[in-house]
Each structure stands twice: as structure tokens, then as C-alpha cells.
Amino acid sequence: MSSLTFTLKEVTRQRIDCSPLTPNKLADKSLADIAKIQLVTGNLSERADALFIITEGDSQSIKFKGSNSKLDFIGHNMTKGKISVDGDVGAYFGIFMEGGLLSVKGNSFIYTGCEMKGGQIKVNGDAGDFIGGARPGRRNGMTGGTVIVTGNAGARAGDHMRRGMILIEGNTGDYCGSRMISGTIAVQGDCGRHLGYAMKRGTILLNQMPTRGITANFNDCGTHTLGYLALLFTSFKKLDTTFSRVDNFSRVRRYAGDLAGIGMGEILVKI
């Protein structure tokens, strides 16, 4: 069965809240019912079929076509099924997600994987600020699952991240791993300023020493062979990412910080 497909009719001026269009929420809904779903855009709400051409298909495999960076909350709270998006997506891609598969052929705006608990998000492009972050006032960002970004990440990737994995094939912006509580961020490219700022625990694994080096709020713990990295790389193997092809390494230079706080975070740089 082909995918249930939402093709955006025209680029709207206001953002569109797409949270109602997930496999969970559309399961067992008729096409007519789906067409009637109200989507908030600006200070109005509009019927789904006013904004999208809806093509019947498997509600457990949803496609968005002609999407752009104003489509927010795609994959909101989903626990199963998959959504794939042609184009860019807006903010909060995969917010609260617990399971299933989300992917976008394009860029995502801020808060990709915000407070996600499980499942997998793949951004085949660049992701905006606050990947896996926590909304203001909340203390825990993502607590499980995997976010893969094939391009570059914005600032504050993994801010308040508590568990799970963020794999960035390109470069990261500033403050990668800021206020990280735990979990793993792996980066193949370069990192911006203030790497690991206010990090409590967790691991930032780097394929190369960042151009800017490591800041003074991290102390060098020397070079080591860390056995657990073998397990980590094994776990990458089954993921659809260039990380599955990265040569395993377990020799790293280890930096511990941010010393301002409990200083239990680590930046591991391949040597």
C-alpha cells in the first residue's frame, strides 16, 4: 500500500502546526475524516484539505510533499510508523517522539527531536539550533532515540540532552553539547565555539580535533583506549548514516568538563 500523502498546496505566510498528522493520530481514520482535521496556522485553523492535497494511502507511512520550513511539529508525539518529508521542515520535528521513523529530505528548523524519547529522526540536510533540546523551563531534552543529521547542525545541539544519540555527519554550530546531562553526540566535521559549555555528563565524540581546539574549562585527561567505543561503533553499523562506515577507533584523547559544574562530561577526540 502506498503512503498517505500530504502535498502542500501553496506556501503559506504563517506557520502550520502539523502535529495532528501522525501515524498514531490518523490510524483508522477515513480520508474524509482526515480532510476535516483542523490545522492551526496563524490565528486561524484550517481544514487539512484546504492546505494539503491529500492522497489516500497507508496512515502508518505518511509522506509530506512540497514541505517547507513553516511546517512545524511534524511527528509530534508519534510512537510508531513512519513519516517522510520531501522539502524542508519547520520547528519541533519529532517533538516528544517515542518510536517510529521520521525523515526529511531537506533542512529542519529549530528543536529537531525536542524532548524525544525514542525512535529515529534523520535529517538529510542541515538541522537548526537545539537538536534534541528541551523547551524553555523544561530541564530534560531528548531522553532516548537517535537523531542523524547528514549536513551541519545549528547551535546548542544536544542542549539539556539526557539520553540517546545525536550523530552529525557535518559540522556543528556553537555550544554543541551545552548543558548536556548525558547521552552521546558524535560529530564527523568541525565544531563551533564553546564546545560542551556547561556540560554536566555525557560524551561528545569527535573524529577530529576542532579547529578551535578544546577550551580551558575542560581539562586534558590524556590519550586512552576506551573499550566501550567498539560497542558504540557496532551500534552505528545498522544505522543509515556515514557513521556506519567510519573506521572504528578506540584510541582517543579525553577531555573532562565543564569544570564549572560537576565536570563529568567528556569530549573524546580521535587520535
Binding site: G144, R163, G164, S182, G183, T184, R201, T203, H224, T225, L226, G227, Y228, A230, L231, L232, T234, S235, N248, M264, E266
Partner: protein, 298 residues
């Protein structure tokens, strides 16, 4: 039933339900993985006094272990989950955590689990690091040679302990040679261990004793030196008897192990002094698992 001149008694071994787990110890090389495994499984012959029965299941190549290093898989059996957890914890702490270059993983997935590194982590004194990889939690505990990596939990499964057979031979050296041959074959069978030293027991026991303090004592019915003093049916030419005890994850695993073990013994045959194969039981009243020798060999 007679195989190659060896009589297979029409009797059965009687075994008990136990709880078991499998652990994988890896190390810088096979030697150090084995050293740790042997320490872990040392003094673990019988639950009665050791708290558990444990043994090396087999050696693992790098491509068979979670971290890609040479390793050893071991099985540990105890009467219950709690006792098993306690043994796993103390032995892991004393024999794996301490052993150079080691890492420790669960070798058994199951619904129920017991702590593996969950409490060992406190050795890290706050510097321990938790990592969840593929849904499993690991602990990285800083130690003097680097980092001790251990999985947080290991699975627990229902298992069977106490499968056995007895090799009755004309001389001590022939009994031993027969048992060695059996053990060599049995070690190739997965999911079982033979927990006694070298896999062979020379002091089979019976339940009870004339001394109140003891609840088991020598199996006088199978002590050749007592042929004339106790009621037994040991043939005159049998001078030495040795036992192989098998713990396995399932009854079928033990079946297989016993079969290849007995076959190896019978292969030596009467010409190598092996006369009879028998088994230990308690009349079928105590253990729910019965291993009928003739059935196994048929």
C-alpha cells in the same frame, strides 16, 4: 544396553531446577580473559558450599564478543535469582573488575535480569559513566589500567543443575582417561558446564550422614574400597569410579552433553578398562529432571 563392551545401567540421573546466567569476559588477549574467567568460576563446584556452580562454557574469538576482543563465556548456576545475583556481583567485583584489561558483558538476553555492573559502578566513586547503546546500559568505571567496561544487567533464565553420569573403570588411571575423553567432547556442547575441577568429580556424595552436622557424605555405594563393607553391586574388577556433573540451560542441553560424554567413554570401551556407566539419583523423589541413560544413548 552394552556399547563397545561397556554396560549402560538402566538408571537415571536426577537433576534440579536452577537459575543461570551467561557472562562474557573479554580482555586484551585470550590469556587474560581466561585468567579472569577461571578466577570467576573458581570455587564454584557445588551450590552447597560455594553458593553457585560455575564454569567456562567456551573461549570466544574477537568477532564473537561485544567489544571485538578475545573472550570467554561462562555460565553460572544458583538455586535462585537472588543467590545468583549475589554470586555474580561478588565474583564480578573480585575476579573481573580486578583483572587487567577485562570487560564484562551479559551473554544472555531474557525478560528477567539481575544486576551485573549496576552495583559495581559505585567502585567508580562518582566518576563512573553510564552509556546506553542499542537499548542496553553499560557502565564505564575508571580503574588504574584504563576503564573497566561492564554491562549494567544480565539476563536470568531457568536452568537445570545436577545432570551426571558415573564412569566405572578397572583402574584409577583408566577412569580418569575415560572422563578426560568425555570432558573433551562435552566441552564442545554449548549451554552446559561441568563445574567440578577439570569437569570430573571423584567424591560423589549421597544425601545425609551419620554426623548430624553434615547433610551429605561420601557415596559409599560407589566407593570401590568398601565393596565388602556396604551393600552394593559393584563388579569385582571395578577399582575406580568417577563422576561427571553437568549443569545446563535446558534439559536438552544436558541430554546432548551426556550423550557425547558417554559416547566418548564408550569409544574407549572395555578394552581400555571401562566397565559400566551409571548415574546418581535420589530415587526420583527430589529432582524433577530425570536423565535415563539408556534413553539418552538409544
Amino acid at each position: 544396553m552394552i556399547i563397545n563392551g561397556v554396560t549402560i545401567d538402566e538408571t537415571f540421573a536426577e537433576a534440579f531446577p536452577m537459575k543461570a546466567t551467561r557472562l562474557i569476559i573479554t580482555a586484551h588477549n585470550a590469556k587474560w580473559a581466561m585468567i579472569s574467567a577461571q578466577a570467576f568460576t573458581g570455587f564454584a563446584t557445588s551450590v552447597i558450599a560455594c553458593g553457585c556452580e560455575a564454569g567456562v562454557e567456551r573461549q570466544l574469538k574477537g568477532n564473537e564478543t561485544p567489544d571485538g576482543r578475545p573472550g570467554v563465556s561462562i555460565l553460572i548456576f544458583a538455586m535462585g535469582g537472588k543467590g545468583l545475583a549475589k554470586q555474580v556481583e561478588t565474583r564480578s567485583g573480585q575476579c573481573v573488575l580486578t583483572s587487567p584489561t577485562s570487560a564484562l558483558f551479559s551473554g544472555l538476553d531474557s525478560e528477567k535480569d539481575i544486576p551485573l555492573g549496576q552495583n559495581l559502578r559505585y567502585f567508580g566513586d562518582g566518576f563512573q559513566i553510564s552509556k546506553v547503546i542499542d537499548g542496553k546500559r553499560y557502565w564505564r568505571i575508571p580503574v588504574m589500567d584504563g576503564e573497566f567496561l561492564t554491562q549494567e544487567k544480565t539476563g536470568v533464565t531457568a536452568a537445570v543443575g545436577g545432570g551426571n553420569f558415573l564412569v566405572l573403570a578397572e583402574s584409577q588411571s583408566q577412569a580418569l582417561a575415560a572422563c578426560e575423553a568425555a570432558i573433551e567432547e562435552m566441552q564442545k556442547i554449548p549451554n552446559v558446564i561441568m563445574p567440578f575441577p577439570g569437569g570430573v568429580v571423584r567424591s560423589g556424595s549421597k544425601v545425609g550422614s551419620k554426623y548430624k552436622a553434615l547433610n551429605a557424605s561420601t557415596n559409599d555405594a560407589f566407593c570401590p574400597t568398601l565393596k565388602g563393607q556396604t551393600s552394593n553391586d559393584l563388579p569385582a574388577e571395578v577399582e575406580s569410579i568417577m563422576e561427571i556433573v553437568i549443569d545446563g540451560l535446558t534439559k536438552e542441553d544436558i541430554d546432548k552433553a551426556m550423550k557425547v560424554g558417554i559416547e566418548a567413554v564408550c569409544k574407549l570401551g572395555s578394552k581400555e578398562g571401562v566397565r559400566r556407566i551409571s548415574a546418581g539419583n535420589y530415587g526420583g523423589k527430589l529432582g524433577p529432571f530425570h536423565f535415563h541413560l539408556q534413553e539418552i544413548m538409544s
